[in-house]
Amino acid sequence: MIRSNILVGLVRILRKIGHNFSDRIWRLGAGARLFGLTLAYSGESFRRFHLTIREVYFTGVMSLIIVLVSAFFVGMVLALQGYYTLQKYGSSEAIGVLVALSLLRELGPVVTALLFAGRAGTAITAEIGLMKATEQLSAMEMMAVSPIARVVAPRFWAGVIAMPILATLFSMVGILGGYLVAVPLIGVDAGAFWSQMQANVDWRFDILNGVIKSLVFGVACTMIALFEGYDAPPTAEGVSRATTRTVVTSSLAVLGLDFALTSFMISM
């Protein structure tokens, strides 16, 4: 009797694992399908480019404050921490390079993407989820207007356009924060700060690779947010869960992709 109970329990656990696994695969496929459809309908949505511009405002411009303030503090902390280590080796003038490279290669794209997922990604998921729950997407379909062309694609391209710009601004403001701590506060020579940075930051390997990273993060974060909203069960609980999943999945995707991209870029 006890043995058969254990067996039944085991089968139930196995079934649950299998179900979760196949559900994940199904969602991955559905996400890929939505991505394909978004690309296919992009032409149609570019004809109404004002919609994309409007979304750039909502996802990009509205994220500026959180991105720039965070960048300023990240830059300042980087300079403080960097100086603490560099001065042990007598190379505190290299603080400018350290701040710039950390921001351009890593922190700019990654932290911007994490902030973007929290600020704009959740907004996209909740908006589309609620549009679905209130039958707005159905209404659009019944009016012979594709919701993917009208709602999904403009938000996708807005995210892809906004992310590299936000990441670049993040790095710029971060460097400014680092400068304010290193030069006026700590007293590092301003000439050394800027000239070492200029000499050691490479256009292609540092700046361009950072932009490429942020472009990839832009595609991933926006697509995850859109899919979670589009796939959300049309209930209050469904939308709230989808919003949480957007942050969790986007953050993990950004960190995972960052590792993959960095190893690829370093090996080149």
Binding site: M131, T134, Q136, A139, M142, A144, V145
Partner: protein, 277 residues
């Protein structure tokens, strides 16, 4: 289908079955919707009335049978074909489904902007005419959040008739409205149908309002059409289901209780389980 029936019926549902997740919602439904008429589909909540509208609109595919619009089988159309058919349809959703980020004016202008190249001045005039028809010309600057439930539904109705559709579908147009708004919507459905020369399909469970305006009524229960006829015929019907529904009786062929086990057993079961534990 002969050309004669095509001329008569703008929408036909032939032997249609539909199910999902292993449960059959409709089993061999037949309905016709003659041109120019107001036809109602009635039945209890969860009897698949709204699903029928979605099958006509091509948002769902039937498991068997077909829905035809203007003689064309809906589920066999390509995406472009379905979109072409939908341009001849207007649909009023239960909660209005207005776009919350657009004003009342922009909501009504939406289908015109998407499907026509009309100049702005003409869109302006058309939008105000449609809003005037539902009595809300003065509300064109408001946002959907500023409207009452009845007003939102009237705006949605103006949007549904924006492109002068041949078929107007109403999903529970009376649900959740106060008696005055209900009367207004009721009148509008009939007036707009006759003024536009359209055909209206109403899905509803409000007997009084629906019977006032419908030319013909189908009753759906357990996935099949259980009764049909003019409102006068159905009022006199002796069929137990129709009688219970039309007169709003609590018990009848549709039981008050959801299927359950023995009442005493359910109550005692908890006590026994506790003692056992």
């Amino acid at each position: 289908m002969t050309p004669n029936t095509l001329a008569q019926n703008i929408v036909e549902i032939n032997n249609l079955s539909f199910g999902y997740k292993g449960r059959m919602l409709h089993q061999g439904i037949n309905m016709v919707f003659p041109r120019g008429k107001v036809v109602a589909i009635m039945g209890g909540s969860g009897s698949g009335k709204t699903t029928l509208l979605r099958l006509i609109g091509g948002q769902l595919k039937p498991s068997k049978g077909e829905a035809r619009v203007e003689g064309q089988i809906v589920h066999q159309q390509s995406r472009d074909g379905i979109y072409k058919l939908r341009r001849k349809m207007g649909m009023l959703f239960q909660q209005g489904a207005l776009f919350t980020d657009l004003s009342v004016y922009e909501n009504v202008a939406f289908p015109m902007r998407e499907h026509t190249d009309l100049p702005e001045s003409m869109i302006h005039d058309l939008v105000l005419m449609k809003l005037n028809a539902v009595g809300l010309r003065g509300a064109h600057k408001l946002m959907p959040t500023e409207l009452s439930g009845g007003m939102a539904r009237r705006v949605a109705l103006a949007r549904a008739i924006a492109l002068d559709p041949d078929i107007i579908m109403y999903d529970e147009p009376f649900a959740g409205l106060d008696p005055i708004s209900m009367g207004v919507i009721c009148d509008l459905i009939r007036t707009l149908n006759d003024a536009l020369g359209a055909t209206s399909i109403i899905v509803s469970h409000d007997v009084k309002e629906t019977f006032t305006i419908a030319d013909y009524v189908y009753f759906v229960a357990n996935g099949v059409v259980v009764a049909e006829g003019t409102p006068e015929d159905l009022r006199k019907s002796t069929l137990p289901f129709v009688h219970q529904f039309v007169h709003g009786e609590k018990d009848g062929p549709v039981p008050f209780h959801y299927a359950a086990g023995d009442y005493a057993q359910d109550l005692l079961g908890f006590e026994n389980a506790r003692q056992g534990a």
